[in-house]
Subunit: 661 residues, 2 copies
Amino acid sequence: MKKLISVGILLLIGVLFIVACGGAPGTGGTPAAGLTVDAAAVVQARGLSSDDIYAAVKTYTPSGKTDPYIMIASGGQSGQVLVIGIPSMRILKVIGVFTPEPWQGYGFGGSGDEILAGGKVNGKDVLWGDTHHPGLSETNGVYDGQFAFINDKANARVAVIDLRDFSTKQILKNPNAINDHGGAFVTPNTEYVIEGPQYAAPIGYEYAALDQYKDKYRGLITFWAFDRMKGRFDQSKSFQIELPPYWQDLCDAGKKVSEGWVFCNSFNTELAIGGNNPSFEAGTTKNDTDYLHIINYKKAEEIVRAGKAKQLNGMMMIDLKTAAAEGILFFSPEPKSPHGSDVTPGGEYIVVGGKLDPHVTVYSFEKIQNAIQAGGLKTDEYGVPVIPLDKAMEAQIELGLGPLHTVFDDKGYAYTSLFLDSAVARWSLGGPYEKKHPEPGWKLVQKLPVQYNIGHITAVEGDTAEPGGQFVVALNKWSIDRFANIGPLMPQNFQLVDISKTGDQMKVLYDMPIGMAEPHYAEIIKADRLKPWQVYPQVGWNAETMSVDPKATLKEADAKVVRNGNQVEIFMTVIRSHYMPEKVEIKKGDHVIWHLTSLERTPDATHGFALSGYNINLSIEPGKTETIEFDATLPGTFTYYCTEFCSALHLEMLGYFLVQP
Amino acid sequence: MKKLISVGILLLIGVLFIVACGGAPGTGGTPAAGLTVDAAAVVQARGLSSDDIYAAVKTYTPSGKTDPYIMIASGGQSGQVLVIGIPSMRILKVIGVFTPEPWQGYGFGGSGDEILAGGKVNGKDVLWGDTHHPGLSETNGVYDGQFAFINDKANARVAVIDLRDFSTKQILKNPNAINDHGGAFVTPNTEYVIEGPQYAAPIGYEYAALDQYKDKYRGLITFWAFDRMKGRFDQSKSFQIELPPYWQDLCDAGKKVSEGWVFCNSFNTELAIGGNNPSFEAGTTKNDTDYLHIINYKKAEEIVRAGKAKQLNGMMMIDLKTAAAEGILFFSPEPKSPHGSDVTPGGEYIVVGGKLDPHVTVYSFEKIQNAIQAGGLKTDEYGVPVIPLDKAMEAQIELGLGPLHTVFDDKGYAYTSLFLDSAVARWSLGGPYEKKHPEPGWKLVQKLPVQYNIGHITAVEGDTAEPGGQFVVALNKWSIDRFANIGPLMPQNFQLVDISKTGDQMKVLYDMPIGMAEPHYAEIIKADRLKPWQVYPQVGWNAETMSVDPKATLKEADAKVVRNGNQVEIFMTVIRSHYMPEKVEIKKGDHVIWHLTSLERTPDATHGFALSGYNINLSIEPGKTETIEFDATLPGTFTYYCTEFCSALHLEMLGYFLVQP
């Protein structure tokens, strides 16, 4: 009885409140500060707390309103890249990168086949990837919205995505490495995309026994030169630097005061070779410190230009001895088994998360430079000068268990993921950032529990020279009890965190399951920096060459089938709701070259093209031209049809493909 | 100034309201009927209406609370199946079905390769599909949460998904058809999964010229017998029925009073053969009516048992003449180019959506039976008895433009998608349903605009004998301006609709972009009907055979590498955070058989296994055993490593795979 009455009172208050605010139920569009009777009843029935309601109104994005931020997340072992709206946490697109994606016609007969072929390993198809660290193109250290880059940890490959059509344009295999981790890190004007290594291997991943580890195994950092006009990597202008076989991990490019340098951590200076006695997990964590790698890539560029690099498997390479001798490579100790290496917005500091150390360690770029200038540095066993920690360190901040990766905001705070504590640590930067927040510098401000076991963390433009604030996303690895049970393979959990207020006011807003692989890192860009096309610029557009295709069929009257010996070339047009021609009849064994051009100019009027039995499917967006080529090995009666529901007569959009025996 | 004041008043009211309700900000867990000051400020800043707030609290699902409904949606031309929580509209899993999915280890070396091989077309890999109509297993016409079935329109294949681990167990190619559409329709006790055809082709898709269309091309309906104990289709107990070359489209199995029958529509009784003069879109829409196909599959079963069917390419087939003569197949006219054929919960009526007709047409099963009993029916040109429309029809309801597909609720309403009107029509059922709703029967009650161009529609258990009500999802095909622009290939838009109230009170609650192909149909099941495993039942579980694998390695001490000539068999264990063994050294050309067993028993402690350069990736959930087999053709130094962030020392979970030249 008591409960009934209190519900009644709540509803009554709800009604009064609506009257006071003038927000009647059902008046879409009128801003309302209260809850309608209906909404109050839902809140009651669903047991929502006031924090829940806050989170709901902070994240809910009504039909037709668009997300102000876009997250570009790696797709982990799906091999893809995810595009996610923030704060609604909705997936806008899965971009096919290393793995064929039939729905976008990527790898099933069209131009995507050629792009995927760029990723062959020793001539063989490898049709998946483990995408780790996306990097957005930058101008003056700030995202410019033009390109995204991504690496494949499993096979040491890199890819270029054009953000005009959010599709992959290039995949390249690193000819001298077999895996990487520190993936696509962009220099402040996208001169280079940096691919770090991971597990050491002989250069060119040639065979060498593990007992020759110290001498024959090596680390390797690659600077892929990017041609912004062409939108492609230029391997001829790219170079690599040989490193000791310490497992280099994440990197970050310097910016502003530290532009021209890159900083990578490492985690097997023990030179452990596994074998379960001890296992790698024990062998690689024996020492108290590993080495932060401090690399002057502008100097490296000069050395390559000066002819002091050698070519190896089509890549210019600076050997370890030259790198050490020429002032390209320096080390400084870092607490054991670190993960993140993250440069502050102004470029003054490098923050290293110590994984097995409860602190983050902050290095000063100025101190590092002073130590290098002062000279007299001892070297490691590979001859690389080592800057003592006390000559490089600015601060150490105790945050908790398992600090991994750090990002920044506009209020002078840093955010570090704590894997073992399952928490996001907010802490205050010192130096020039100290005046931005109420707290003293270099102090832990808040630890926010997340669910569960956060790996990477990302913030709005939080790894650029001008972080945006507002939101952090915790990329949690375990979800266990967070979502409805769907079997043993559970989703990851991306949690959206509100960082709009200072002090200890961070809040978890939203749990987003990722039921499709395990993204490792993500970058968040302001949506208004992106200028994507809604339709391709002209009818006949080839999305691989990014120009009009000479084989495009620009009007229906030009559609035709041309036979030349046993080669049949088809020039087909595609528009609601028919293909022209609707019948293609050939002979078994004919070689078929089939060009398809969409004559559509209406945004979203995408057509598909599925050819039964032949493993072919295309996505033909407005204006696009695609070409497929195959041998007609299978005789019979087949159909081709539109795989995107384009119109009321979509099911009638088909043709017969007849292969005479 | 005025605006400042009104904001101030709103905030003040907010404070008072909080005090009145006792829901202070930050007190997670306390139900609150009002908006806190913070929440009111967010509502103001984001311009949310009272309808928006209602939708937000109706759909927002706080961390740790799970969705009460699960939607199983086809993944369209991705080839996959999506698992989505409702009302939060979050993707919980993408299940790999027809397309390899590396992150779930499906098609990249493990047992998924064998399952995918079941889908070969004439011996060749077809590694994508166009999944259309998922069907959940039923007991007494109600979902039982055990299995999901899905078809591939592009290649006429069907698949079984086991809902204990939400993974694909079987793919079968239909040996006599090359495409389908009317996909996986389940009989009330899952005796059969029905695969309808789509575009007619000669049986066995052998070559025949189009001018022989009338005589040589045929439709075909397939009844795949399902062995519930084995969780597999049993082709030996399955059968097909030859149909005229009218393009049969969607079907629905009868239930309760109509159990034993199935109803399919069709849309090319014109026998158009395309060729652009006229095109298919004109040629197939000339007639005012097509034929509803009325099939007695219990009778068909008897005919097969009686030996009156022939075997063709491994399937029993009832020919058209026998089907017509034995009372298996009847027609009744239906308004031109229909799409949906949907049986009411009690089985009394069949609702056909007329695509190019503004009505839905409701057929009475009782009238159909009476007409059949009365006899004297004329036949079509293929000899099939035709029941005149006026002898079969119960009602016609004018709904609007482009009615496609219909589902039902618990209040006696039907919901029909209107493609051209871009709307969901709610209308009242008559007959025994009339007492459930306030309106008279067979009347349009509300047309709710959706954004845009809805194809299928689904409701909570809305195609079963006991619909659940609460929610409808509109599967919209175009999204255009609904989401942030991400290039020419735009997402679909699933809109969640609140149907909890009677009358014209339907509301759109939520827009969910599907940035990954175009789902066609979905079914929504109450989450508590599902009983998925959190870990596999025993260590050593083979998820393909659903039993303990004889090659499993049950403890670390048993891990070993066994050489037998040039065959190397590896028995490996997997547990946080190491593989045992951590090194495998072999010779180029060796044949490798590699068994991996997870010793984990902790839910969510999934490990991956990526083998660089060899196109191999596995997902090894707790307790699972996987086996890969390959020839070591590529010499060199490779690594295998864990692709699921399993622990703080996840990066240290690796081994070296050394292939001596």
